[in-house]
Each structure stands twice: as C-alpha cells, then as structure tokens.
C-alpha cells in the first residue's frame, strides 16, 4: 500500500483551470446535467450511502445534513461553502480550489439543486487571496454558459454563487461566526439556537459544507463502476484528502483510500522524518486535534480506528513532530495559537486559555506542583463544557491527549520535565 487513489483529485493537472471549455472537455458539468434529472432526495441518499462526513473537521453526516436542509421550510435558502480552513497544518482545500476550481463550482450548483437553494456563498480565507481571481473567473464563465443564473439547464432552477473573503480570523471557521462575517460584521460566534439550518445567513435557512465534502459529489454522481464505494473500509468508505507537514521530508497533500496505515502516509507518501529521527508525536486534524505517539503508526487511517486510538480524522491534517521538540514546547505553541485566536467574548475561553498558558510556563520552569496540575485538569474539563463555540471546546484537546499519552510530563513529583 502507501499509494494514492485519485478520485476527489482526479482532475488535478488534467485541465486549464482558467477555462470552462477545457473543464468541459474532460467531462465537466456532466454531473450537474445528471443531477438536474434526479430528485434531490435521491442525491442526498447517494451521499448518505457513501457515508461522507463533513470534511472541515466536524464530521457531521453530509447526506443527513442535505436531507434536513431540504426539509426546512422557508424561502431563499442558501448554501455556504466553508473555504476558511484555518486549522494549522491543514491546506487540502487550498489544493482543491487551486487545482480544480470548476469542480467546486459544479458541486455547489448541485448542492443548491438538492437543498432547493437560491444562492451560494463561498467564504474563503484571506490567506488564499491569490485564488480569488481563479474562482471569480470560474463563476463568471459558469454564468456565461448558463450553469448559473436563471432557469439553469432549462429546469426552472435559479441559482447564483457569491465569493466572500475572510481577513485572518480562525474563529470564522465556526458556522455562526462565518455567517456574521459574510453579513459584513466582525466574526464573533453567537449562541445557538436559532440553528443555522433554520435561521442562518441573513436569517435564511442555511446549509454549510466544506470544500472537500462538496468536491466529492460530482465525481460520486458519475462513478459508474463504484470506484469510490469500493475504496476504503465498510465504515469509512472512499478516500480522504490529507495534508501532511511538520518534520517530514516531503510535506504536501495526498489523497488516500481510507484504511491506509498512518505509517504509509508518513513514511511512504510524506517521505518520513529527515535524518531518520524518532517521532515525538503526531497531531491529527489541526491545532484543535488530539495527539498520539509513534505507536499510532500501524493504525489504519479510518474514522473508527483513529478514534479507538484516541485521535480523530478532523480536517485530515497530520502534523509530524520529531524528537527535537518536547511535548511542553508543542503544547506552548498550540496554547499560544488559541490564546491569539480566541475572540474573547466568553469567559471560559478567554480566561481558560490565558491561565492554561501560564500554567504550562510554570511547568516548563519546573515550578509547578500537584495543585497546578489539578488546575490544568480542571481547565480541560471546564472549557469544553462552558465555552460559547467550538474554539473553546477544542482548544484543550491537545492538552487532554498529552496528559493521557505522556503522563510523565505532568508528573511533578518526579525530576525535571524536559
């Protein structure tokens, strides 16, 4: 094993990304033509049968999400494409947009058809500003070919796509914050309910999907031979885009069938650790992901197996850290990230992050005692329970995992910790 399977990324390098004609010459918009002859519910069922889970990190069942979005009553439904991948070490959506922008546009139109929406909004992080023109051009060309606008493909289906830019706020990956940002406000998350699916963008019923989740759909609809359904494992069907970085020789984005071992990903695809150093830890799914030590290498990369091993697929990021970086050093940087990015609205997140940072520092200096460790544990319990949004809920995942995987680091009864 250790080979890629190009299904979602099948179009990479196959066409001129600035030309709709080029895209159509490799079968572009065939999936949309097929979709508009189908009932939306049947498409949602195909997605559900493929067990596609939200690939932005939350992992919510996408087929179910679409079925629910269809069922919501209300005018002017909207679809949002979340292209705000802000989790450190996550850059797979960047490649999907860069190398196959038209597929994303096609996918969004199909999503609009399925849920009965009138508009789609792509919210792309400012960091990918260089991809803006590419997407705007794709939208423009799709419009001039009649794939967007009024009465698409003669089906009486009106649909448009709008592109919005973020401006460097990690918290805007969170649904309600993202929506506020598109509404032209500062992207601070709000309390739920009302839930987005009922009252989201401009108080309209809203369905949010990640770039990768959407990108699968056109390929899946045209997959006569069942390549996708036969790839992977019965529980984790198909393939996944993973981004690997950190201390590896060949960092990058790879598409793997589920079930590939972590070792294959790290050593065969990403080239292994430079100078054959030992692995200290691997973090899965970005800064809000859990961590494991090298014992994870032989675990197959599936939703179930990773979960049993104490980590999550999350965004699909794998951050490899070699022996030169200590666990506490890693935790410090991770904590700094969340302290920086917390919007400061709710006390558990704002103060929890601050205090955790001070306690880590104390531990690093060798001055922490058992009561400090107790405080740290308390913070890891309180923050997920009481924070307003996912940022505060996920901020201590790395810490929680570190306490489990590397108990010796927190053993203040013993000698120095580093």
């Amino acid at each position: 094993m250790g080979t890629e399977l190009h299904f979602i990324s099948a179009n990479f390098g196959k066409y001129d990304t600035s030309s709709i004609g080029s895209y159509m010459s490799i079968g572009g918009f065939e999936a949309l033509r097929k979709a508009v002859t189908m009932d939306g519910e049947d498409i949602a069922k195909i997605v559900a049968a493929a067990k596609i889970k939200g690939r932005g990190g939350a992992g919510y069942d996408m087929g179910r999400k679409w079925t629910q979005a269809r069922a919501v009553k209300g005018e002017h439904k909207v679809v949002i494409c979340n292209a705000d991948e802000g989790e450190p070490c996550t850059f797979k959506d960047r490649e999907l947009i860069k190398q196959d922008p038209f597929n994303l546009i096609e996918a969004l139109i199909i999503a609009g058809w399925v849920v009965g929406a009138t508009d789609a909004y792509i919210y792309m992080r400012a960091e990918y500003a260089c991809l803006r023109q590419l997407l705007l051009n794709a939208i423009r060309q799709a419009k001039s070919y009649g794939f967007l606008g009024k009465n698409i493909l003669g089906k009486g289906f009106d649909f448009d796509i709008h592109l919005y830019s973020g401006a460097g706020a990690y918290v805007c990956g969170e649904g309600t914050a993202l929506i506020r940002s598109i509404e032209g406000k500062a992207g601070r998350p709000r309390m739920k309910p009302p839930f987005i699916k009922v009252s989201g963008l401009f108080a309209r019923p809203t369905c949010v999907n990640n770039v990768e989740s959407l990108s699968i759909v056109p390929h899946l609809l045209l997959d006569q031979e069942g390549v996708y359904m036969h790839a992977g494992t019965p529980d984790s069907i198909g393939t996944k885009m993973v981004s690997v970085a950190g201390n590896v020789r060949n960092p990058g984005v790879f598409e793997i069938p589920f079930g590939t071992t972590v070792r294959d990903i790290v050593y065969n695809l990403a080239g292994g650790v430079p100078e054959d150093r030992q692995i200290r830890l691997i973090q899965f799914g970005g800064a809000s992901g859990y961590i494991a030590d090298a014992s994870i290498l032989d675990v197959p990369y599936t939703y179930d197996d990773l979960e049993k091993a104490g980590v999550n697929v999350g965004t699909g990021a794998l951050l490899v850290i070699d022996e030169r970086t200590s666990v506490l050093d890693f935790l410090t940087i991770t904590q700094d990230f969340f302290s920086d990015e917390s919007c400061g609205q709710c006390t558990p997140c704002r103060e929890g992050n601050r205090h955790m940072r001070m306690l880590i520092e104390k531990l690093r200096r060798g001055e922490a005692d058992t009561s400090d460790i107790e405080k740290m544990k308390k913070i890891t319990r309180i923050m997920p329970m009481s924070s307003l949004c996912g940022l505060g809920e996920g901020a201590q995942h790395a810490m929680i995992a570190a306490m489990r995987v590397f108990p010796e680091v927190f053993d203040v009864g013993g000698a120095a910790n580093e």
């Binding site: 996550t90 960091e127 830019s165 401006a167 981004s243």
Partner: protein, 166 residues
C-alpha cells in the same frame, strides 16, 4: 481612540476616487465590508486603513463608522495603524515552529535591525508575527502583502528575499 493629527486631514480627491472604485468593485455592497477594507488598505503605502478612509467608507455605505472600526480591529489581516511598505508576517504556528521559525525570526531581526513589532526607520519593513496561513508545506514561511515566501531555511534565502523587494 487617539488620532494622529495628520490622519484627520481630509483624503485627497485621488484617494477618494480610488476608494470609490474599490466600493464599486464590491457592488457598493456593505456585506462585502471585509473585502472592501482589505482592498482599501492596499491603496495606502503602509498598508492600513487610516481614520479618514474609514469615515469616508462609512459615509458611502449604510453602516456606522463603529462597525468599520470593529472590523478593522477584529480581523488580524486588517489594520487601523500604519504598518510598512512591506509588512513581513512571520508564521508562528506549529509546522513553522518545528521547522525553525525562531532562527528565521532572528535572521530577519538581524538583517533589518529591528525587532518583531517594529518598523524600519524608512517605513519600508515591519516585522510581525501571525498564525498559520496555510503554507505549512513550505515551512518556515513569511507572508508579505498577501504573497507567501516559503522554505526560508537559510540566511542566504532571507537575504535574497529582502533584496528582491527593493
């Protein structure tokens, strides 16, 4: 908010016209405020949105000035304070950290003679820290006016980069 006296000066007609163009390119749509402010700050040599520009935009859109300042201070990519012609944002997140971004920072500080948070005397360079901008496969990386420069793992490469900006 403290104001530099010169910031209260009115905008030149030329700048007004340029901001008008930015607004137009966003269909004068106030929900595009983030995109409008991003484009506006690129009109200024030191990559920020001066107060006069913020008030001007507020006068053109159905939003109060407070909303504009809220956005300017909320989003990391936007600034209400003068930066530099080339604000150099050093990624401080984890993939860059384990690829020696500390050394990169020190090299930049040495070559420019300033610390993080400072601007060179001529207003050309500023050093800033930022969180991950999705170039982790090219760590350690910096971003300058939206463009990413990666794999900066030697003093020579950093020197070349700075020279290319001249």
């Amino acid at each position: 908010m403290l104001t530099e006296p010169k910031e209260q000066e009115a905008l030149s007609d030329e700048l007004r016209a340029k901001i008008d163009l930015v607004l137009e390119s966003h269909d004068n749509d106030f929900t595009q405020i983030v995109g409008i402010l991003l484009d506006t700050q690129d009109l200024f040599e030191r990559h920020y949105v001066p107060q006069a520009a913020a008030y001007y935009i507020a006068s053109k859109l159905p939003v109060p000035a407070s909303r504009i300042f809220d956005c300017l201070t909320f989003y990391a990519e936007l600034s209400d304070k003068a930066r530099a012609k080339y604000p150099i944002e050093i990624c401080s997140s984890i993939a860059c950290h384990v690829n020696n971004n500390e050394e990169l920072k020190e090299t930049l500080e040495k070559l420019l003679g300033i610390h993080v948070g400072e601007v060179t005397y001529d207003g050309r360079f500023m050093l800033l820290k930022t969180t991950c901008f999705g170039a982790c496969d090219r760590a350690p990386a910096v971003r300058i006016n939206g463009k990413v420069y990666g794999n900066l793992d030697s003093e020579e490469k950093v020197r070349d980069l700075l020279e290319s900006l001249n």
